[in-house]
Amino acid sequence: MRLLTHNMLSSNIKGVANGFPLGLEVQKFVEKQVDFNPDFLKNMFPKIEWKALVTAAKTMGYAELPEEVESSMLESEDFLQKFHHALLELHLEEGALICPETGRRFAVTKGIPNMLLHEDEV
């Protein structure tokens, strides 16, 4: 699971008001190279919750992202490369996503988060 996915998901358990951002429990993580596509990054940038991305990247051991951003930074190749790396190249292979409100674990196995709810959470 890449951090892009992490940035889009929340805990949708019934009754949970603040399911975002999900905590990351890292058991195994890998880096995989992905083709750099600046257009895609520019499209995605306004839709990203930046704080959640910075925190998640730090949990994965990548602390190069600036804390504060603005859209003018998209002109910088250096920034785009870092953004690209954090968003698409860090994979959580084994671990879990933790609901910030209830502590419920959503297991991530073989890189695939299991977001399905139990019967009593629907």
């Binding site: 699971m1 929340s10 399911g19 674990r105 988060p113 139990h118 019967e119 629907v122």
Partner: protein, 478 residues
């Protein structure tokens, strides 16, 4: 400029919409036109493979033809006629400034003789090519890699066996090829050599058509909420789009049939970039964070309609019906707990799909999905589900059996999403469900497709399905 657009004679209903979608992708509408102009050759039938289309430039025509699956070729028509004499006159009358640049001595060329509904022997072909002495070709012939390809395309006389209803007259076309489809894709991607397959994997040709309808290109993000083995996303990834998929069945997305036979390996097999993400999620209770909207450029899917595979959603069947009381999973059992699922009706599924698309598609984004239709005799109008945010731009029928067909619907998001829109959409949905969707409920479609004929009707049906009474040609417009 008008081009002769010749199609492969298959998936008739999908041909023009594919060209129209690609025309948008390659910027044919940038000059302000709202739709493409089409014309049929004289006395031709809509099902004919020969169409004329008006496009702003040759580059656009070439791009469309090269990317399409169903366009055999786009041609600059130099002449047409009902006989070789008429054809000669037409070619001679075609302006020299359009012809001469392609006939110079520095260029190489070849002439290809093609036919529709008949076979022309090799000797006959050569005879016809030699008949073109009245065209002042100066260049050298190069059969393997010519600069310019000229096509002579011939259709058969009026008759019952040329694959078209007997209204099409014999016609000859001569033109210069501008672009042609790359059908080599199809053997490369065919399902029988795909490593990981499921029972409802999408046929490669159809998957490419869907990706074309969705305008998949590099830099775009395409989502499939019923990803299964990834067969639709493979086509989108081939065109360079970033892909993302979800499925409720974790065995399909996570495990596959082993480490080298799963959704990832299907992408690896063709050297395509891996999906941006795969997840297990329920389309009925999507896990997107609040406030997330307008992220996907297209949503492409083949929803489960309960004919070959039924949909499932979270929550136990008995629980949702209220047969048993809500219960709590004990804490010590939570870790390995496998949540139960309940059947997911098509009506609900379509509603959730619209809701997802209305919220998550960018403005102008496309929703492309299959919708099953029972083929009733005498009903001409099919009602499709609607949503206030979406405009239907194409509906293409693929007939699957005597009793049912599936329609590929392409919708464009024209209006922004809001709470009021969602409420309005729910009302429209209820109305639609009441009036047009009854047969889609709880297994009715399945029984309509699979139950024996005589259990549905009395004896009068027999004659209708009698083999001999079936017309030889069964197209949409006949």
């Amino acid at each position: 400029m008008w081009y002769l657009c010749v199609f492969f004679h298959r998936l008739l209903d999908y041909r023009r919409p594919e060209v129209e979608a690609l025309a948008e992708l390659f910027g044919a509408y940038e000059d302000g036109r709202e739709c493409l102009e089409w014309k049929l050759p004289q006395l031709n039938h809509p099902d004919s493979p020969f169409h004329f289309v008006n496009l702003p430039s040759e580059d656009i025509a070439r791009n469309i033809a090269n990317r399409s699956i169903l366009v055999k070729g786009m041609y600059e028509l130099w002449g047409e006629g009902c006989s070789y004499e008429e054809l000669e006159e037409a070619i001679k009358a075609y302006p020299d400034d359009r012809k001469l640049p392609y006939l110079t001595s520095e260029t190489t060329f070849r002439i290809i003789v093609d036919s529709f509904g008949k076979v022309i022997s090799f000797e006959e072909q050569n005879k016809r090519i030699r008949g073109f002495t009245y065209i002042p070709f100066k260049g050298r012939v190069n059969l393997k890699n010519p600069d310019h390809k000229f096509w002579l395309i011939e259709t058969d006389e009026y008759g019952s066996n040329n694959g078209l209803p007997p209204v099409v007259q014999r016609r000859l076309f001569f033109g210069r090829e501008v672009g042609a489809a790359d059908r080599k894709l199809l053997p490369t991607y065919q399902l029988k050599s795909r490593k990981y397959l499921g029972p409802t994997a999408m046929d490669a040709e159809m998957a490419f058509l869907m990706a074309n309808q969705a305008l998949a290109t590099p830099g775009k993000l395409v989502y499939d909420p019923f990803v299964g083995t990834g067969s639709i996303l493979v086509a989108a990834a081939h065109f360079g789009a970033m892909t993302m998929g979800a499925d409720i069945d974790i065995r399909v997305v996570r495990d596959g049939r082993g480490p080298e036979c799963n959704v990832w390996s299907n992408f690896k097999q063709y050297g395509l970039p891996m999906p941006v993400s795969l997840l297990r999620a329920d389309n009925n209770l999507p896990p997107w964070r609040p406030g997330l909207k307008e992220v996907f450029d297209a949503i492409i899917c083949d929803p489960p309609y309960g004919v070959r595979a039924g949909g499932r959603k979270s929550g136990g069947r008995k629980l949702l019906k209220g047969v048993i009381d809500p219960y709590t999973v004990p804490d010590d059992k939570r870790l390995g707990h496998i949540p139960s699922t309940a059947p997911y009706s098509l009506a609900e599924c379509i509603h959730d799909l619209f809701e997802l698309a209305a919220r998550m598609l960018v403005m102008g984004g496309r929703l492309v999905f299959f919708y099953p239709v029972i083929r009733e005799d005498g009903s001409s109008e099919t009602h499709y589900p609607e949503h206030p945010c979406f405009t239907l731009v194409a509906a293409c029928e693929q007939i699957l059996s005597l009793r049912y067909s599936r329609h590929l619907l392409t919708m464009v998001k024209k209006g922004p999403y809001s709470e009021e829109i969602a409420a309005e959409a729910s009302r429209m949905h209820l109305d639609f469900r009441e009036n047009h969707l009854k047969w889609l409920e709880d297994g009715k479609l399945h029984s309509a497709v699979f139950s024996p004929i005589d259990s549905q009707n009395d004896g009068s049906v027999e004659s209708k399905f009698n083999k001999d009474s079936k017309p030889k040609y069964r197209g949409k417009y006949v």
